[in-house]
């Protein structure tokens, strides 16, 4: 391996070398990253989205109600979020208003999967960047020098928690299934609400499981994230990228639509209200026809051009008001700016999310934001459980409109999610999805601005190009 070869000696000062990782693993989907390293830090970066399935094309001509089933299959980690975004777009197009119990049941389904996804992400996708798994497959092979800095006792604790977290995320899925039918891919979220009126027994079974998960979150997950901030403290100072955030808001807390995690945009240091008309998707460096560049999703078209010269990704480049923005727990927590957990306040010595300052925009900052958000969602789940009414209707039937448009704005665990539907003759005439990873992992746009993940890679230390550990750490901090 690298350690035995003379090439592994430090690279000459001022010399640029290219490092590629393909596949980037422990993510959902297919990504490649290519960075240019000079004097031990990344000076240029490209993220390649290597897969296209064509959901937006497949949806055209179908019964609009099918969209919430089909679009869930975009992501098996966050299908409930796609179901929610799709149902919101359909609610809008069908002009249907949910019952209170329908709103709460949707929150309980989506909320349980937020907990599932964040636990899965930290332990099963990201943690192996910070601790060593057992010395068996699939935890080996690993980089010859993988920069693991925790002592053995902490490593052992973390591996124990890795296994326990497998159980926890499974329990979260049981909670989803109690109201949503099954998971992955729920039947329960549909236009007009949810399909299963919660019984007292189902709510009790949900609550019983939730208690176990919440204990794990508070006693294990959050503490270990802060524990890692010790040996990996330098990762709070790198990987920030653009400090621009988009958050569409999620978990309606009342019938007026006020959400637990707020809707808002943060651009160049200022807060703005969201105007969906300011979202445009660019395709100069994407494998899509150039005639489709710069369109708002409501007029969006998806025309793949796999042989396009100069393109390097199947991901479009969405921009808000012409600028790249990051999405995800960090963006949401930054926009919402809630008080941190007790342990967070203690460890960081600050009270609210924005008090963390620039350090929030970093590799570790994203993990901190995600953990803090998990605690916040868990508190809200408790509230929804108290508000849910056994036996009360959760579903409002509504006929398919002859024509109409609908916009669904919500958040997946990994960031903001937009679904747009245009119905003509009771069929889908156009359907556009702009998901979190599209916001984060996109290529350069027509104006020459890098995508947020590409930009966040600039300046990340890669002292040993044979073992580019920090590159993977940075990418996974976004939870693509």
């Amino acid at each position: 391996m690298a350690g035995c070869k003379p090439q592994a000696a430090p690279v000459a000062a001022g010399k640029k070398i290219k490092v590629a990782i393909d596949p980037v693993t422990r993510i959902e989907g297919h990504l490649k990253v290519e960075v240019e390293v000079k004097d031990g830090v990344v000076v240029d970066a490209r993220i390649f989205g290597g897969m296209y399935r064509g959901f937006e094309q497949i949806l055209i001509g179908r019964d609009p109600r099918d969209a919430s089933q089909i679009t869930q299959r975009i992501c098996g980690v966050c299908p409930t979020a796609h179901a929610t975004a799709s149902a919101l777009a359909l609610d809008d197009a069908f002009k249907v208003k949910l019952t209170k119990n329908g709103r709460i049941a949707r929150n309980l389904i989506l909320g349980a999967n937020f907990l599932q996804s964040h636990i899965l992400h930290f332990y099963h996708l990201a943690a192996l960047d910070y601790v060593n798994g057992p010395d068996v497959a699939p935890f080996i092979p690993r980089y010859a020098k993988n920069d693991i800095r925790v002592p053995k006792d902490i490593n052992d604790v973390a591996v124990g928690q890795y296994l326990e977290a497998l159980e926890m995320r499974k329990i979260c899925h049981e909670m989803v299934a109690l109201l949503g039918g099954k998971m992955p891919h729920v039947q329960g979220i549909v236009v007009g609400g949810t399909t299963e009126i919660p019984t007292r027994e189902a709510l009790n079974a949900y609550a019983e499981r939730f208690k176990i998960v919440k204990k794990f979150i508070l006693e294990k997950y959050i503490p270990i994230v802060y524990l890692l901030a010790g040996p990996y403290g330098d990762l709070l100072k790198t990987g920030g990228g653009y400090q621009n955030c988009v958050a569409w808001g999620v978990f309606p807390m009342d019938d007026a639509g006020n959400t637990l995690l707020k809707r808002g945009v943060f651009t160049d240091g200022k807060d703005y209200a969201v105007d969906p008309a300011l979202i445009k998707e660019f395709v100069k460096y994407s494998y899509f026809d150039d005639s489709t560049t710069g369109l708002n999703p409501s007029e969006g078209r998806t025309v793949p051009a796999p042989y396009k010269e100069g393109a390097y990704s199947f991901i479009k480049s969405p921009r808000y008001n012409g600028k790249p923005h990051q999405a995800g727990p960090l963006a949401r927590m930054w926009v919402t700016n809630p008080e941190l957990s007790k342990i967070g306040q203690e460890k960081l010595g600050v009270k609210k999310m924005r008090d963390i300052g620039d350090a929030a925009f970093s590799i570790l900052g994203r993990h901190v934001a995600r953990a803090e958000e998990t605690a916040m969602v868990a508190d809200a789940v408790e509230q929804w459980l108290a508000e849910a009414q056994p036996g009360k209707e959760t579903f409002v039937p509504a006929p398919i409109p002859d024509s109409g448009e609908g916009l669904g704005l919500t958040e997946a665990p990994r960031g903001c999610l937009l679904h747009y539907i245009d119905i003509k003759d009771q069929k889908i005439a156009n359907y556009q999805v702009t998901s979190a990873t599209i916001w984060n992992a996109n290529p350069m746009d027509d104006m020459g601005q890098r995508g947020p993940m590409e930009q966040a890679l600039i300046g990340v230390p890669v002292p040993d190009p044979e073992n580019p550990v920090n590159v993977g750490r940075l990418i996974r901090s976004f939870d693509p």
Binding site: A20, D22, P23, V24, T25, R26, E28, H30, K32, F48, M51, Y52, R53, G54, Q57, I58, I60, R62, D63, D66, Q69, I70, G76, V77, P79, H124, L128, G133, V136, A137, P138, F139, P141, R142, Y143, L163, L166, K170, H173, E174, A177, L178, G180, G181, K182, M183, P184, H185, V186, Q187, G188, V190, T195, I197, A205, P304, P306, Y307, F314, P397
Partner: protein
């Protein structure tokens, strides 16, 4: 690995778990589920056999990772046991520690060393249009590897192939009408390229974890399970949902659900595709037995070769 010490032996040694103790755990817990009535003895010896020369290489094409996530919901054996003790999962993009070159070199090394013996699990469809460019799964020596390249290469070397999920089995949603990627399931792909390696389809969007673990267990103990004309193990996909549905009596009595949130009544008028669907969801149920599609809403026929076009529109009677 050159000598005859097996991968899982090494795993056990490193974990400090005795085989006897481990098998006892598995038989104890497996007794708790329906699958065990058929599989309990098989499962035990499956494990013993799996503890020999049988690494599993799991690759992903045009999918959503939902099948892998579903596998993580395995109860008996638990996924921790599956990962650490039951199978030697040498490659899995969502779970493995390694990435890039390290991961791919290991993949091809294991495939060579265990040629004709390893099981290849395929998740997601294989796009055949545009030279396979719609799904790039990695690169070695500055050369892109498409999903089609990888399935061709590893499919020829594998002892058996598990097509996990409806996408890998039949094309699934990526192959639905309107797609431009030429998305294809494994069997059709193999036929096209003349690859003779036996394939077991484990459809479902996603498949139940028991269907995946149970099929692996069968494959390892008794070889290929009995398959239906669509290449699915009859043990899991041999029964009609509607004929076995708890709402069948209501159907016979003409009691039909009128809206999606009705707890009672047969769901056929709401679009339930149970009558055209063969799977044991009605008794196995999902997520540790919490619920299943028909009790919650309707069956959309996700295990069938025609899914989704064959059962769409989902909320209209067939």
């Amino acid at each position: 690995m050159k000598n005859e010490q097996t991968l899982p032996d090494k795993q056990q040694k490193k974990l400090g778990i005795s085989r006897r103790g481990f098998l006892k755990t598995i038989t104890g817990t497996a007794a708790g589920i329906g699958m065990s009535q058929v599989f309990n003895p098989a499962l035990v010896s499956a494990l013993e056999k799996a503890l020999e020369h049988h690494p599993v290489l799991w690759i992903q094409g045009q999918g959503c990772t939902g099948c892998s996530v579903s596998l993580l919901n395995s109860v008996d054996p638990s996924i921790a046991d599956v990962l650490l003790k039951v199978i030697s999962l040498q490659f899995h993009p969502t779970i493995m520690a390694s990435e890039g070159k390290t991961a791919l070199e290991n993949l091809y090394k294991i495939a060579e060393e265990y040629k004709g013996k390893f099981s290849l699990a395929v998740e997601g469809a294989i796009p055949m249009a545009a030279g396979g460019k719609y799904c790039i799964v990695g690169e070695l020596d500055h050369k892109e590897i498409t999903m089609a390249d990888m399935v061709k290469d590893l499919g020829n070397k594998a002892g058996s192939v598990l097509a996990v999920g409806t996408c890998a089995a039949y094309g699934g949603i990526p192959a639905a009408e309107g797609n431009v990627t030429g998305a294809t399931g494994v069997m059709k792909f193999f036929k096209y390229y003349g690859i003779k390696t036996p394939v077991v389809n484990i459809p479902g969007c996603p498949p139940h974890p028991d269907w995946i673990v149970g099929s692996i267990a069968h494959l390892l103990t008794k070889g290929l399970p009995e398959l239906d004309s669509d290449g699915r193990p009859t043990i899991f996909f041999g029964e009609n949902i509607h004929d076995n549905c708890p709402h069948l009596d209501e159907y016979d009595a003409g009691e039909m659900s009128e809206k999606l949130s009705d707890a009672k009544g047969c769901r056929m008028d709401l679009g339930c595709k149970g009558p055209d669907t063969y799977a044991d969801c009605y008794k196995r149920k999902w997520n540790s037995g919490m619920n299943w599609c028909v009790d919650n809403a309707v069956c959309i026929g996700c295990v069938e070769p025609g899914f989704p076009d064959g059962s769409s529109p989902f909320y209209e009677p067939a």
